[in-house]
């Protein structure tokens, strides 16, 4: 007897099982990676050609010892007070050229945000987690100041603007618009955070 029609239909009932198996395989083997962190620039290895003399009052020294204690401007300080102290230093504006600064214009502290430098030193035995916390607070001090100015000028946070600007999915028309704003805020409080070589003891 000849066959009535072509090949018989394949039972696809187990397709779901196979797909589930694959799904579970991918669920187990893959990790969504945590790729976020603190961006930093290292200083170039060759020293700048002309040795600029920086006034001591324009440098905010932060020292971390091997026990994780902080020495800020030659005084012992708790980590939680660091952000406030750094902000006060950055926007001190002693020479009066910075019209957006709300600092106390202390003659002993920084001239203006453009000249203010934060110098971070650490011991070889400092724990990495402490170092990151200190870095976080110092970057946070810059971000707080920049956020304040961005709120005043554009009504939104600097960190949000920057994240949107750096996001490759943002349309280029918006990016061009943001570029100038981000640049302007960055120039108001340029991030000058120097990481000197560590001391060995």
């Amino acid at each position: 007897m000849p066959r009535r029609k072509g090949a018989p239909e394949v039972n696809a009932g187990s397709m779901a099982d196979i797909a589930f198996l694959l799904l579970i395989f991918f669920l187990v083997t893959t990790t969504i990676e945590t790729d976020a962190g603190l961006d930093r620039m290292l200083p170039p290895i060759e020293p700048p050609e002309d040795n600029v003399i920086i006034k001591q009052k324009n440098i905010f020294t932060v020292n971390i010892n091997k026990n994780g204690q902080l020495l800020v401007e030659d005084e012992l300080m708790q980590l939680k007070d660091l952000r406030k102290a750094a902000m006060a230093f950055l926007e001190n504006g002693a020479d009066g050229s910075c019209n957006y600064c709300q600092g106390r214009k202390n003659a002993e502290s920084s001239d203006n945000p453009d000249k203010a430098i934060i110098s971070l030193k650490n011991d070889r035995e400092t724990k990495y987690s402490t170092y990151i916390t200190v870095q976080n607070e110092l970057v946070g001090a810059y971000n707080d100041l920049r956020n304040r100015e961005a709120q005043r000028l554009y009504g939104r946070d600097f960190t949000k603007m920057e994240a949107e600007y750096l996001n490759p999915e943002t349309p280029s028309s918006i990016r061009d618009d943001l570029k100038d704003k981000v640049k302007r805020i960055q120039d108001m409080f340029p991030q000058k955070l120097s990481e000197a070589e560590t001391t060995s003891n």
Binding site: A12, M15, A16, A19, F20, L22, L23, F26, L27, T29, T30, T31, I32, E33, T34, D35, A36, G37, L38, D39, R40, M41, L42, P43, P44, I45, G68, L79, K80, N122, D123, R124, E125, T126, K127, Y128, S129, T130, Y131, I132, T133, Q135, N136, E137, V139, G140, N143, T159, E162, A163, L166, N167, P168, E195, E197, T198
Partner: protein
């Protein structure tokens, strides 16, 4: 013939499961696209510290990873418990970092070679001495853009 009783009217018809494979495939494709395969298995303990002022690392193709931490349990017999550097799939010494960066940089397309970021995934219990040595190496090969990869969270939890 009364052999088969007629179906009662109140009985619900069975729900068709014919579209189940489609749904599962959809899920499968979702997971296949959003997740990334681990490109190197970790030989070191890698609990990252927390930080709040973080920036996302966009564009994976522009990132070179360096892992630091003490060797995991199975490698401790051979390599000890002092924090070590892991480059790709093997342990390395500080001196090898520079040549590793140069080799990785040479692998990338020309237009990306100047915009590379070095992501440092460092265990929070590591000491700064080793990190400083790595930083010095990075400066030597002019790889100045670094990212200290962290988890998002309150930075003060690091101290506990």
């Amino acid at each position: 013939m009364g052999k088969f009783a007629k179906k009662k009217d109140g009985d619900l018809p069975a729900v068709s499961t014919a579209s189940l494979p489609d749904i599962v495939f959809m899920l499968l494709f979702f997971f296949m696209t959003v997740t990334t395969m681990k490109d190197s298995s970790l030989l070191v303990e890698n609990t990252l510290p927390n930080a709040s002022e973080i920036k996302k690392l966009e564009k994976k193709d522009r990132v070179i990873y360096i892992y630091v931490g003490k060797p995991t349990q199975e490698y401790q017999k051979v390599f000890g418990t002092e924090p070590k550097i892991q480059l790709n799939d093997k342990f390395a010494s500080v001196d090898e970092v520079g040549s590793f960066i140069l080799a990785e940089r040479a692998k990338k397309p020309q237009e990306l070679q100047n915009v590379l970021t070095t992501a440092m995934k460092v265990d929070k219990n590591a000491n700064m001495g080793l990190i400083t040595d790595i930083k010095q190496q990075l400066r030597k090969v002019n790889a100045l853009k670094v990212n200290y990869t962290t988890y998002e969270g309150d930075a003060f939890r690091n101290l506990q």
